[in-house]
Amino acid sequence: MLTYTARRLLQGILLVIVVSILVFSMLHLMPGDPVELITDRKVPPEVKAEMKRQYGLDLPLHQQYLRWVKNILRGDFGVSIRSKTSVAATFKHRIPVTLKLTGTALLVEFLIGVPLGLLAAYKKDSFFDRAVITTSLLFAALPSFWIAVMLIMVFGVHLRILPLSGFSSAKHYILPVLSIALGGIAGMLRMAKSEVLDVLNERFVFTAYAKGLDKRTVLVKHVLYNSIILILVMFFLSLPWIISGAVIIENIFVIPGMGGLMTQAIINQDMFVVQGCVLIISILTVLSNILADLLIAALDPRIRVSLSEGES
């Protein structure tokens, strides 16, 4: 387990390093000189040359990269070209907002999707099963931003019971979280159903019945426990998609998170902000993937065994 953890962390670090190199090269891949992007055309060439030195843009690329990484490790993401404020300071306000939004959405998906999936698997081929699965197929085809627009139309504009934008009270959470989660619930419940069905057919379930355990014990202690492990995997693996969804939804509801920031930054060509956003979201994703893998390894004895066998 320890070697596995170490290896998984190492892989994660490698991934982050590659991502950071890619993000770093974004500035240089853009057409034109980075200094030209930052400054006005009217700025005299001497000042530009001075800026180049100041930013270290005259150094060889690998030195520039190391310098950039050093700055980021110190929490210095540069200065926004538009607002002239520190990118790191902006992030400090924005990251918690996005985390709250995606966290709540994930929780809602989990709490609604998994029980429905379990029930659908247990009552396989019943009316309930078919109704739930058909509805979920339909919802999976609905883009989150259209759901958002429709929810705004119904609850915000016509019924006027929920706020349309902002993120200041609990009421503000309802529409954005629903917009993100509705599509996700559909995926989550279908996945939960198929995982539970797989577990129901495992030999240890038959063994449990053969031991004379009653249905309830088998379902809760054996089926549910083993399904939860598999579902947890998918839970963490779906995080990148939820973050993607949040980016779009934040824009619609004018939520001051990372998504809104990033979209504006791309439109304004505010490179340092874009770089910071991509880097932070990527690192968050890699971290959650590692967490997922470690969690599974810790919870499922079979995976743990196969891992230690693989290592020997």
Partner: protein, 277 residues
Amino acid sequence: MNEILYIYKKNRYLRMGTIMVGFLVLVAIFAHVIAPFDYDEANRDVRLEPPSSDHWFGTDEFGRDVFSRVLYGSRIALRVAILGVSIQVLIGVTLGLISGYFGRVTDQIVSFLADLTWSLPPIIMSMAVISIIGKGLDNTIIAISVVSWAQYARVVRAKTSSLKNMAFVETALAYNESHPSILFRYILPNTIPSIIVLVSLSIPNTIMSTTALSFLGLGAQPPSPDWGLALSSSILYLLNAPWLAVFPGIALVYTVFAFNLLGEGLRDLLDPRLRAR
């Protein structure tokens, strides 16, 4: 012929999917014939009119006919599907063939790249690419596609590495065939059923992501009849003109649903093993 009819009779998804996608393709081809107006034909006198016999889906804030714009939007959706999937296939299949066939370091590098693009949020990565190559519909399609080829690479890689040990490949090697010839004449044809299934399954995602980026203002630019663009400008008029948000959305959902059905049907038909995943 009878066999095809039998397949269609049995495979409900395939039947429905083919009909729905076929209808979409017809609409896209004949949009200029069916549409009563041009998609950017603005008439100041009929701004924000509700649906009527003249304007079936109503008119937008510039007095443009929403019905005509939704019809023309199908051309954009199909352009996204064709261009986007071609890029994904080109990158994914090539890398998959190479890494599956040659193995070793090549395989490790390709697998690492596939894992990289697979594990990071696609919208975020495409936004990063767009920030480099700029806004616009085609750039958005490129941005989405260069980050979503991983599944092709994985499936083709797995097929290739099992095919390369087959007798017919060994025979070809014994006859001194070159590696490219073996890859393209013997191995590639055997991976095509899986590729077709992946294509039909990745079209809805590609359309959805591109529309989302257009919705954010990074993709298609006005006066394009793109559905995502139409949805984002509809937000300002939700109270007075809800039809602006409803119809482009329905068109998008129809398209995604149609390709989903087709994909499910093709998967049952061509690659039953993929179904288990």
